[in-house]
C-alpha cells in the first residue's frame, strides 16, 4: 500500500456533503458567543457599561475581564524560548489596556449569533487612546510607547560561528542588503470555532473544534481551569485548514469552555472572517540586515545577519520560535562555517504572531537566496553554478550547522543536494538558449535552493486494535486539518497488517481515545504518526503470529501474515483469520490462557497495541530546488508566473498523489505571500486589511500549473518508513525564487528586497537598474 495513490478515504463523505465541521455541530440548549474586541491598537479602557446589552431579549450574559476567576493565568508558551517570556504573555480577556486591534475585552452570550452581535454594539466602552507602536524598528527607540512593564523586547539571542570577520576581510564579493518579509497569515478557509459543553452526569467537559495539538491544548486548559485532564475531552471534527495557525491555544480556547462551565449551557463560538483577520496568529514580519561574502573561487564564505522580528503585542504559545527557526536555519543548504546572527524579537501594537507554513524559512530563504544571486552577479557566475559549487556534499551529511532552535540542533540528515540540483536544472532546461527580450513584456527565470526541516516534537502515539470481525481501528495522536491523514495512516497500517484499506478505520484528534498525542505541525504526521502506526501495527502483527503459533502448534517463523490471515507458509490452507485471533486474545477467553490464574493478566487486552515513539530532536530535512519563469510587464510592473518547477527529495512517498498535492498547495500558498498577501497597519496600529477584498489570496488565475519532481532517494534515518515531511517545502522557497526571477527579467540586481513583490516595487527596481 505504501507508494500507491488510492482515492482518499475522506473523499466520500466530503463529496456527499457529509463532512462535519464545528459550525455543523449543535447541542440541545446551546447558546452562541460573540467576542467583542478592541477597536484600537493601543488604548486604556476607562470603563465598560454592559447594562443596555444585557437588557436586550435573548441575551444570557456579557462577560468582561472583571468576571474572570481571580488569579487566572495568562496563556502559556508551549515551546522553549530564548529567555523569560512571562512578562509578555496574553491574558484571556483584556482589562485595562488594549494592546492590539482585535484584543478580546468581552464575550456576549445569546440565543443566537445575530442577537449576540446586536448586543455587542450596545456595550459602551470608554477608551482613552494611547500612542501606538506600529513597527518593530521603533520598539527600542527611547520615545517609543512602552507596551509592557517588562519592556518592548521579548528576547535577544544569537550565534557566532567560525570567523565571520576574517571571511569579510578576505572576501572577493560582498553583498550588504536589507531584506524584509511582510506580515501575513495562514488564512485557513474555515475560521476558528469551538463548541464546549459540560455534562454533570459524566463530570465531563467536552470541547469540539480545537485542532492541531488537542492533547497540548487540553493540558493548558486543565491547568488554567484547575481541573484534572481526565475530566476534559477534546474532540476534533472535520477541519478546513490550519497551516500552523488554527488550533493553537487562543483566548477563546479558555473563554468558551469556561463560560460553558459557568452558565452550565453548551456554548458555541464561530469566529467570523472579520475577527479572524485580527485574532488569529499573524506571521512572517521580519527584517534581515545581511552581509554575504564569497571568495574569488565562488565559495560562499560567510553570512552575517541582524534579524528583527515583529512579534505583535503579546508572546503567544509559539514563543519566539519563528524568528528562532529563521536564525538557526538561515545558512540553508550551503557548506559554509562562518555564520553570525544577532536576533531580536520586538513587541508592537499588532496582533500576536505564531507559525505559518515554513515558519521563518520562507522569510530567511528569501533574504539568503536574493543575496546569493547578488553574489553570483558580482562574481560573474551563473546563479545555478554558484549554488552548485556551494551545496553541502553527500559525503558531508549528516551536516550539523552548529546552530540550534528551541533546544534542538539543526542537523540535515540525508540527501544528495548536487544531484537533485542537476536533475532539476535538466528538467527545467536551465542551460537551453534563452529568447531575446523585446517590448515591455520581459521574461526572467529564477532559482532557489532550500532545506526544509520537518517532523519536530518529542514523541507521537498510536493505537491499533483488531476486532473479532477482523476490522482494524487505528487511533492516532495526530490531528487532521484536511491533509488526508486518514488515508495515509490507513495505508501505513495496511502495509504491515496486509489487509485492504476498506477494513481500516482511522481516528484522530480525540483525547478520549488516546491518553497521549503529539498533534500535527512541522510537517510531522507522515513521519511521526506514520512511525507510531507502523510500530503499533508491528506489535499487533507479532502478537497475532505468536497467538497463531500457539493455536496452530507451529513455530512462529513458519507463519506469515497475508490477506487478513496468519497462514502456515508451507500449507496456506492452514490459517487463522485476524478476527479469530482477536477472539482468542480477548480478555477472559480460556483457549490460549486457561483459567486460573486469577491474577491480573497484563497482556490480555485483545489483538491491540499502543506505541509511543520518540522523535529525532533535529527531525528530518528535505532538500528542494525551486525554479520559476516569470513574465514582467515593465510598464505596469505586473508579474505573471509562467512556469514553476519544484524538485524535492522527500525520501519516500507514502501516497504520491497526496505528496504532489502538498507540494502544489504549498507553492500556491507561498505565491500569495510572495506577490499578494499583506496585513497592513496604519501609524496608529489600526489594521487596514479586514476582508478578502483587501487581503488578496491567490486565485486560480494567479497560480500557474506547478510541475513537481518528486525524488525518493534520500530515505530519512529518523523513522522506519524513511519518509520526510512534505507539507512546507513547497511554500518555503517561493518568495526566493520569484524575487530572483523578477530581478532576472529586469536585467539587474537592484531592489526587490521587500515582500510582497508589488507592481510598484517592480517598477522601482527597474528604475534603479543601471
Amino acid at each position: 500500500m505504501i507508494g500507491a495513490s488510492p482515492p482518499r478515504v475522506e473523499d466520500a463523505r466530503f463529496l456527499r456533503g457529509e463532512g462535519r465541521y464545528v459550525a455543523d455541530l449543535r447541542l440541545p440548549g446551546m447558546l452562541e458567543a460573540v467576542v467583542v474586541r478592541s477597536p484600537y491598537g493601543h488604548a486604556r479602557l476607562l470603563s465598560i457599561d454592559t447594562a443596555e446589552a444585557l437588557a436586550l431579549p435573548g441575551i444570557h450574559a456579557v462577560i468582561t475581564g472583571a468576571d474572570l476567576p481571580p488569579g487566572i493565568a495568562r496563556i502559556p508558551c508551549r515551546v522553549p524560548t530564548h529567555g523569560e517570556m512571562s512578562g509578555f504573555l496574553q491574558p484571556v480577556l483584556g482589562r485595562e489596556v488594549a494592546r492590539y486591534f482585535g484584543e478580546p475585552f468581552a464575550v456576549v452570550i445569546a440565543e443566537n449569533r445575530s442577537l449576540a452581535e446586536d448586543a455587542a454594539e450596545l456595550i459602551e466602552f470608554d477608551w482613552d487612546p494611547l500612542p501606538a507602536l506600529a513597527s518593530g524598528e521603533d520598539a527600542e527607540k527611547p520615545d517609543a510607547p512602552r507596551l509592557h512593564e517588562a519592556g518592548n523586547i521579548a528576547s535577544r539571542w544569537g550565534f557566532d560561528l567560525g570567523d565571520v570577520d576574517r571571511a569579510k576581510t578576505e572576501a572577493a564579493a560582498v553583498v550588504e542588503e536589507t531584506f524584509t518579509s511582510q506580515r501575513h497569515t495562514a488564512m485557513p478557509l474555515e475560521t476558528r470555532g469551538l463548541l464546549a459543553s459540560y455534562d454533570a452526569a459524566r463530570n465531563l467537559l467536552e470541547v469540539f473544534g480545537p485542532t492541531k495539538v488537542p492533547h497540548t491544548n487540553r493540558a493548558i486548559l486543565a491547568g488554567m481551569l484547575d481541573m484534572p485532564e481526565g475530566d476534559i475531552r477534546f474532540v476534533e471534527p472535520d477541519v478546513g485548514g490550519s497551516f500552523g495557525a488554527r488550533g493553537e491555544f487562543y483566548p477563546e480556547d479558555f473563554l468558551i469552555p469556561w463560560i460553558a462551565l459557568r452558565l452550565k449551557r453548551p456554548i458555541r463560538w464561530i469566529e467570523d472572517r472579520l475577527e479572524h483577520f485580527a485574532a488569529i496568529n499573524h506571521s512572517r514580519e521580519m527584517r534581515f540586515t545581511l552581509t554575504a561574502c564569497a571568495d574569488a573561487e565562488g565559495r560562499i564564505t560567510a553570512f552575517d545577519v541582524k534579524l528583527l522580528a515583529d512579534m505583535g503585542a503579546y508572546i503567544r504559545t509559539h514563543g519566539d520560535i519563528v524568528p528562532s527557526h529563521a536564525a538557526a536555519q538561515f545558512p540553508g543548504p550551503y557548506r559554509l562555517r562562518n555564520y553570525r546572527c544577532q536576533a531580536v524579537a520586538a513587541l508592537t501594537n499588532k496582533t500576536p504572531t505564531g507559525t505559518l507554513r515554513a515558519p521563518g524559512m520562507f522569510e530567511a530563504n528569501f533574504a539568503r537566496e536574493r543575496a546569493v544571486d547578488r553574489l553570483a552577479a558580482q562574481l560573474g557566475l551563473d546563479p545555478a553554478e554558484l549554488r552548485r559549487r556551494n551545496l553541502i556534499r553527500p559525503e558531508e551529511l549528516p551536516w550539523n550547522t552548529g546552530t540550534e532552535s528551541a533546544n534542538r540542533p539543526v542537523i540535515y540528515d540525508s540527501g544528495d543536494f548536487p544531484d537533485v540540483l542537476a536533475r532539476a536544472l535538466n528538467a527545467f532546461g536551465w542551460d537551453k538558449p534563452r529568447a531575446a527580450q523585446n517590448g515591455p513584456l520581459r521574461r526572467g527565470r529564477g532559482i532557489a535552493v532550500v532545506v526544509e526541516p520537518s517532523a519536530f516534537g518529542p514523541f507521537e502515539a498510536a493505537r491499533v486494535e483488531i476486532d473479532v470481525r477482523g476490522r482494524v481501528e487505528v487511533i492516532s495522536g495526530c490531528s487532521s486539518q484536511g491533509q488526508g491523514h486518514e488515508t495515509v495512516l490507513a495505508q501505513v497500517a495496511a502495509e504491515v497488517l496486509r489487509v485492504p484499506l476498506e477494513s481500516i478505520r482511522v481516528r484522530h484528534g480525540d483525547t478520549g481515545l488516546l491518553r497521549y498525542g503529539g498533534g500535527t505541525y512541522a510537517s510531522r504526521t507522515a513521519v511521526m504518526s506514520g512511525h507510531a502506526v507502523t510500530a503499533a501495527a508491528e506489535t499487533v502483527k507479532a502478537k497475532a503470529i505468536a497467538a497463531a503459533a500457539r493455536k496452530l502448534e507451529a513455530p512462529e517463523d513458519s507463519l506469515v501474515l497475508e490477506d487478513g490471515y496468519v497462514r502456515l507458509q508451507d500449507a496456506p490452507e492452514v490459517s487463522l483469520a485476524l478476527g479469530e485471533i482477536a477472539r482468542l486474545l480477548a480478555p477472559g477467553n480460556p483457549e490460549l490462557t486457561p483459567p486460573p490464574p486469577a491474577a491480573n493478566a497484563v497482556d490480555q487486552d485483545g489483538l491491540t497495541a499502543t506505541s509511543h515513539i520518540r522523535g529525532y530532536p533535529s527531525g528530518t530535512s528535505v532538500f528542494a530546488v525551486h525554479l520559476a519563469e516569470v513574465e514582467v510587464d515593465c510598464e505596469t510592473g505586473q508579474i505573471a508566473v509562467k512556469r514553476y518547477l519544484l524538485a524535492a527529495d522527500i525520501g519516500r512517498a507514502i501516497n504520491p498523489k497526496l505528496v504532489e498535492g502538498q507540494l502544489v498547495g504549498g507553492v500556491a500558498q507561498g505565491l500569495g505571500g510572495a506577490l499578494l498577501e499583506e496585513l497592513t497597519y496604519d501609524s496608529e496600529a489600526q489594521l487596514q486589511t479586514g476582508t478578502f477584498a483587501d487581503y488578496m489570496l491567490p486565485s486560480v488565475a494567479e497560480v500557474p500549473r506547478i510541475e513537481t519532481m518528486v525524488i525518493e532517494e534520500a530515505r530519512s534515518p529518523s523513522n522506519p518508513l524513511g519518509v520526510k515531511g512534505v507539507g512546507e517545502v513547497g511554500t518555503s522557497g517561493v518568495a526566493a525564487v520569484l524575487g530572483n526571477a523578477v530581478a532576472d527579467a529586469l536585467g539587474g540586481q537592484t531592489g526587490l528586497n521587500a515582500l510582497p513583490l508589488t507592481p510598484e516595487r517592480v517598477l522601482a527596481a527597474l528604475e534603479e537598474t543601471p
Partner: protein, 290 residues
C-alpha cells in the same frame, strides 16, 4: 457578520416596489443582485430599515434594440449581458468591461442596475456607460426621468438615484462601427481595478478620428471623462505621436486615490500606460471591423 435587523418585501411590480419604498421611507433600500449590498449588510456598513427585493419584477429585465438605442433593463444579469449578441454587436465596450467584472458566480447574480446604483468608484460598469454616453432611466413617485451617464455618479456610492426612486433601465445609443477597449490593472483577476481605462473611437474613411471617448476609472470618486485627451484625438490621424499627446493631456492631477497596494503616483503613471494601450487596442479593433 450578521446584518442588523431589517424588514423585507419582494413585490411583483415596479409600482408596488415604489409604493413600498415610499412607505418605508428613506432608510429603505432596493435589493438587486445583492453582490455588494449583501456583504455590506453582513459587515453592518449598510443598515437599511427595509430591503425591497426587485428580483421578482420580470419587467425590469431584458435587452432590446429600440430606435437608436440599446435598452437594457436594470435587473438584467451581468452574465446575460455577456452572453447577449445585441450587446456584442451594439456595445462591444460594455462586453469588454463586463469580462472584468468579478467572477462568473458574481456575474450570474449581479445586475447592471445594481452595479450602477452602488457606484463603487472602482467598478467597471459606471466607467463603461460613461464612455458609451449612455442614459440612465430612473422611476420615482413623480414618474420617469432620464439622466445622462455623465451626470449620474456624484461621488463614491452616491448617484442621481434619490431615496424612493429605482433605477429601471439603461439606454446606450447605437454608435455605429467603432473601436473600443476597456483595460484595467487589478491585483488579481476579477478584483476591483486600481486603474481602469475605457476608450471608444470612431474613425472616418480617411482614418481621422471622428469621435473619441476616453474615461479613467478607479482613481477618483467618480469615473473621469478625459475631455482634453479626447480633444487632442479629435480630427486627427491616431499615430503614436498623437496618442502620446492625448496621454499627456490626461487629468492626472485628478487621480487622487491611494492605497497600500497601489499608491497615487503609481495610479497616475498607469493611467497613461492604460490609456495608450486602450487607444492602440481600440484602433486595432476598429481596423479589424473595417
Amino acid at each position: 457578520m450578521k446584518p442588523a435587523p431589517f424588514d423585507y418585501a419582494a413585490p411583483d411590480s415596479l409600482e408596488e416596489a415604489l409604493t413600498l419604498l415610499a412607505d418605508y421611507g428613506e432608510d429603505a433600500r432596493p435589493l438587486a443582485g445583492g453582490q455588494s449590498l449583501v456583504p455590506m449588510l453582513a459587515l453592518r456598513l449598510a443598515r437599511p430599515s427595509a430591503l425591497i427585493d426587485l428580483n421578482r419584477i420580470a419587467a425590469l429585465s431584458g435587452i432590446a434594440v429600440e430606435g437608436a438605442a440599446l435598452r437594457i433593463g436594470a435587473m438584467t444579469r451581468q452574465a446575460a449581458l455577456l452572453a447577449s449578441g445585441e450587446v456584442a454587436r451594439h456595445a462591444p465596450l460594455l462586453r469588454q468591461a463586463l469580462q472584468l467584472v468579478g467572477h462568473p458566480p458574481t456575474r450570474a447574480r449581479g445586475t447592471i442596475g445594481g452595479s450602477l446604483s452602488h457606484a463603487d468608484p472602482a467598478a467597471e460598469l459606471p466607467a463603461a456607460l460613461l464612455t458609451l454616453d449612455a442614459e440612465i432611466v430612473i422611476q420615482g413617485p413623480a414618474g420617469e426621468r432620464r439622466v445622462p451617464a455623465a451626470e449620474f455618479c456624484f461621488g463614491p456610492f452616491e448617484t442621481a438615484v434619490q431615496p424612493g426612486e429605482i433605477l429601471t433601465e439603461v439606454r446606450i445609443p447605437l454608435h455605429g462601427p467603432s473601436g473600443s477597449a476597456f483595460l484595467e490593472i487589478s491585483p488579481r483577476e476579477g478584483d476591483f481595478a486600481v486603474v481602469s481605462a475605457a476608450v471608444r473611437l470612431n474613425l472616418d474613411e480617411n482614418g481621422l478620428c471622428r469621435e473619441a471617448a476616453v474615461v479613467l476609472g478607479a482613481v477618483a470618486p467618480t469615473p473621469l471623462r478625459c475631455a482634453n485627451s479626447e480633444a487632442v484625438l479629435h480630427g486627427r490621424g491616431l499615430d503614436s505621436k498623437t496618442i502620446a499627446e492625448a496621454v499627456a493631456a490626461l487629468p492626472v492631477d485628478a487621480v487622487e486615490f491611494d492605497s497600500p497596494f497601489a499608491g497615487r503616483d503609481y495610479r497616475r503613471r498607469m493611467a497613461g500606460v492604460l490609456v495608450r494601450r486602450a487607444i492602440e487596442a481600440a484602433l486595432q479593433l476598429q481596423g479589424e471591423a473595417a
